[in-house]
């Protein structure tokens, strides 16, 4: 968990080599309510930082998930399409959404990527 990065858009990013696993935070999942639908990008597709690449919906609202970085989607979590509640129940583990391969992980050194402490301060916890 030590290498997790967060964004102000309530996403978390885990780095393994050049592959970044992306999900949404427990705080965001809780704010949305019980998630009943998730739409994920296609594996193999190119995504652009800051663009909407996935959507998660509760009965009440829709959350857009932005690509935190530009790259290629290598894998998506098909399990959350069948079990969207994984995003609420296990946001950092079974509720991961997609993996993006980047050429250079130094992109995560940017100011928009924050530590867990900075994220917790952002959400007031």
């Amino acid at each position: 968990m030590t290498d997790l990065k967060y964004t102000a858009e309530h996403e978390w990013i885990r780095t393994e080599g050049n592959v970044l696993t992306v999900g949404i935070t427990a705080y965001a999942a809780d704010k949305l309510g019980e998630i009943v639908f998730a739409e994920l990008p296609s594996a193999g597709s190119s995504v652009e930082a800051g663009k909407v690449v996935a959507e998660v919906e509760s009965t009440k609202s829709v959350g857009e998930v932005f690509a935190p970085v530009s790259g290629t989607v290598t894998e998506v979590n098909a399990d959350v399409v069948d079990n969207p509640d994984f995003i609420n129940d296990s946001p950092l583990d079974k509720g991961w959404l997609f993996k993006i391969e980047v050429e250079d992980t130094s992109v995560l050194d940017g100011d928009e990527f924050i530590t867990v402490d900075e994220y917790n301060a952002l959400i007031g916890e």
Partner: protein, 380 residues
Amino acid sequence: LTDNAVISSRFSPLHQVHVDAGASFTDFAGWQMPVRYSSELEEHHAVRNAAGLFDLSHMAEIIVAGPESAAFLDYALCGKISAIAIGQAKYSLLLSEDGGIIDDVIVYRTHENRYKVVANAGNRFQAAGALAGRSAGFDATVVDESDQFALVAVQGPAARAILEALPGLELPSALADMRYYWSALGTYEGSEVLVARTGYTGEDGFELYVTASQAESLWVNLMAAGSEHGLVPAGLACRDTLRLEAGMPLYGHELTTNILPAQAGLGRVVALKKEGDFVGRAASEVGPPEDARVLVGLVSEGRRAGRAGYPLFAGGADGDAEVGVITSGALSPTLGHPIAMAYVAPQFSEIGTDLFIDVRGKRIPASVTALPFYKRKATE
């Protein structure tokens, strides 16, 4: 994810009870109200199958009293309020001069010359102000007593059994004899309570108006009385999906000052046959233009719901004729598929009409259907 943080400042008299119960809160018309306690889906199903307990203390209670109260309300509201008996309740609308809907209200006749008008929290001041302004010339007073009351609703098939098991509640007659949209004044632990067989969930249920200082005792004792009946505390998230399934309009979504009652399917609520003038009468007699959009229900397949504000298109998946807009929508927890209410051009309002919802750039087929989406099975 986008996050709409809202600063709000008002708290229910039950706020600490909700905090202690682990509720998540949402801003509703400037109030911090429980949006869910644990799971809005479980809360929804509990109301359909057992019972849910709602805190609705944000609702506005406006007391109308005086010898000409009935005549005044006949003038101020679109319904024939003078026709209801003591103990009876009536759904009505507060119209503007041009016939638009300022608020939808429930009027309870509590005494010969005294009525409780319950308005939406977000319209409290508009409703109280309009009523006060319209009372000129009538021997009737209008007093906004919202801050003195708490409102707790027990909704679901077990609601009556739960209230019957509530200690401290004294009513003049048995709850079993109280009909839908009737009410009775009684006491709860010695203080006045208005118990009404009304609600906003499509289930049997009761609403209890008590003084704010009684709210916590009432809530705690209801939870205890309901434990063996499956009662759960229920938040505003499930209240919205429950009322949507029941085809009930929500002010600000299906009802606005720009909508005439006839467009919302509420023409029957406007008592054009009653004698005397009422605010909005002339405009209601003319009615909306022939091409005015009308409220319909929509059903679709899959799990992706149309939401408020999403446009509707006719002419196939590529059609470019926008013919309507969704006002409320959700994946129905009871039915398992998306449902929505929408305003559409009248030529597309017939049941069975195929339309497309533009869900953030993707077209999803939907079909016009009759409201409500869900109707409870008749009991007893």
